[in-house]
Amino acid sequence: MTDDTMQPDADGLFGRFGGRFVPETLMPLITDLQAEYDTARKDTEFQRQLAYFQRDYVGRPSPLYYAERLTEHFGGAKIYLKREELNHTGAHKINNCIGQILLAKRMGKTRIIAETGAGMHGVATATVAARFGMPCVVYMGSADIERQQPNVFRMKLLGAEVIPVATGTGTLKDAMNEALRDWVTHIDETFYIIGTVAGPHPYPAMVRDFQAVIGRETRAQILEKEGRLPDSLVACIGGGSNAMGLFHPFLADEAVRMVGVEAGGKGLETGLHAASLSGGVPGVLHGNRTYLLQDEDGQITDAHSISAGLDYPGIGPEHAWLHERGRVEYVSITDDEALEAFQCCCRQEGIIPALESAHALAEVAKRAPTLPGDHLMVVNLSGRGDKDMMSVAQHLGENFQ
């Protein structure tokens, strides 16, 4: 049997997914990056630095919090929240950015670029770029800039240049296209910090490894609190980095069920969604083969979600592999379901979750009531919802007057 924990292979393939589908200009760069990453991960000094910044700068470990009121509210499974929203910058994104900027420094790169959807990865990248004194350019879809104004301002405060991308649909995929165009044009000095477990090899594996701190901590914390492993893990998925980070350290534990929650937008049947696994087919985009939302001609179609961070027509290749292997169950949650879970979490726990994380909570709302009280369920609360105030108010018909 293939070992799910030992992927990808030397060519960056998770089964038939992943790979290095990039223009020739970028091949030598990603080969160098891979070599540097392979060295760094075995280098105790690199690991020491990473651990230092994760502890003293990011604020790790993040708590594993017993959500007593949500547990009572749903009346079933015992619910734990992995509090990634308490990290510096308010989401899991910084775990990866710290890792990549340390690599950038090792490689002597002097300029940072990134793409962002909801702006959380952009903010995390701008943050580490400021901390390490490097100029930073963030590409962001013009539609996303509209709905995520507070994050745009945060990035600017942190000294980043935010470049609006109006091509295509003006969302995350277009921002990624533009970041790749920047990268092929400024190869010598530039390090591209990809924000999710996608892109050409080694990014999917590298980002996963930097995010796996979430799952490793969860494992130790639940063993300490409950004396055993959880029965199920639930996380939302756009590209899929917070989910991969939580899931990966548990892949070999067959008794641990895993549920990935895609954005169902207005419903899969409407075609207006961002659920690549449930509503897409395999294809090649942004350097890897994975499930993509596309038409019959192979043109990438628009993703739709209330949550800008899930609004991507693809998904990390390792998720595509785990989907086909049946190791992880992938479901989808609609905008309306996510909004309801968002409000429920605010009122029951006094925690305002990101709209992304609210998708995971909505799946919990469906599952937890059907499960016994001794079922341990860990939900990744991947980010906080401050950035979503305007969108949520708009959808709920409220105003701030």
């Binding site: 020739e24 970028l26 091949m27 995929k173 296209n177 044009t185 090649v284 985009l285 942004h286 192979g298």
Partner: protein
């Protein structure tokens, strides 16, 4: 020179014949790029059919893709115009068919990204492309690491797989790039996207010289070449000069369909005169 690392094609192809003929004429080839279906199917077909008479020696025809990550704004917009006009892979292959009914000597190369081919199905695509009279493929996001996907199957259909060598392709990397290359080599003159700044002549000449040491294939140079003068200058040391974005801009800025056809053919005539002056020693 090293022994050719590229495996020879079985029969002399249109590409081989064209480059051999031009070698006898002692001038470089003019390679022109337009996107299939830009601005619409009919106009695009008329542009395509008139290219050989205007002076194009080799034709690159773009397969439009929604997310062309190696292209600048000009070719991005061309792809969107074509897609909005209903262009798809079936219609692109139809265009090649229609072109081949009137023109059997000018090589035609399809250029684009992998996903539309992947979606169409590689086997189906290659069978239909060969039948339509496609001579080669340039697929920007398929490096040699993925030769099993399309490059090697294409060869079985007699379709060349044209490789890009870039300023980042160093001597360590080059053998890998050349391993399964056929047709011609496409030297990308600058790091960056299509339609960018003009390359520095001495850098391009050095790159071409480097490629010649390692390959017998004809060497084309592209990216950032816009004028007859540039084409003439680069054509003095290369085997072919590729012009794309400048032609596509002619389509973009034309006010009528007739204007688009005339803009492209007019510039091709100028460029052809340019490469005609670029006699080689």
């Amino acid at each position: 020179m090293n022994a050719a690392k590229e495996s020879p094609m079985n029969d002399a192809t249109r590409l081989d014949e064209r480059f051999t003929a031009l070698e006898a004429e002692k001038r470089p080839a003019l390679v022109t790029y337009v996107t299939a279906g830009d601005p619409d199917f009919e106009t695009s077909l008329e542009i395509l059919k008139g290219l050989p008479a205007a002076g194009a020696d080799v034709i690159e025809l773009g397969m439009p893709f929604s997310d062309p990550m190696a292209d600048g704004p000009t070719i991005q917009k061309a792809a969107l115009r074509a897609l909005r006009g209903g262009q798809n892979m079936i219609r692109t292959l139809e265009m090649v068919h229609a072109f081949r009914r009137q023109e059997s000597h000018t090589p035609l190369v399809l250029m684009g990204y992998y996903n539309p081919i992947h979606r169409y199905g590689v086997a189906r695509f290659l069978k239909e492309a060969a039948h339509a009279g496609v001579d080669g493929l340039i697929v920007v996001d398929l490096p040699p690491e993925h030769d099993d996907e399309l490059c090697l199957p294409a060869r079985e259909h007699g379709i060349a797989f044209i490789r890009l060598a870039t300023p980042t392709t160093d001597s360590k990397r080059l053998p890998r790039v050349l391993e399964n290359a056929s047709g011609f080599l496409y030297g990308v003159s600058v790091n960056g996207i299509t339609g960018g700044s003009a390359p520095a002549l001495q850098d391009v000449e050095r790159m071409v010289g480097q490629l010649r040491k390692h390959s017998h294939l004809p060497i084309a140079v592209g990216f950032g070449i816009r004028t007859a003068a540039q084409a003439a200058a680069i054509g003095r040391f290369s085997d072919a000069v590729v012009v794309g974005s400048a032609l596509v801009e002619g389509i973009e800025s034309a006010e009528t369909r007739r204007g688009a056809v005339e803009a492209v053919h007019g510039l091709v005539r100028e460029l052809a005169a340019g490469v005609g002056r670029a006699g080689k020693p």
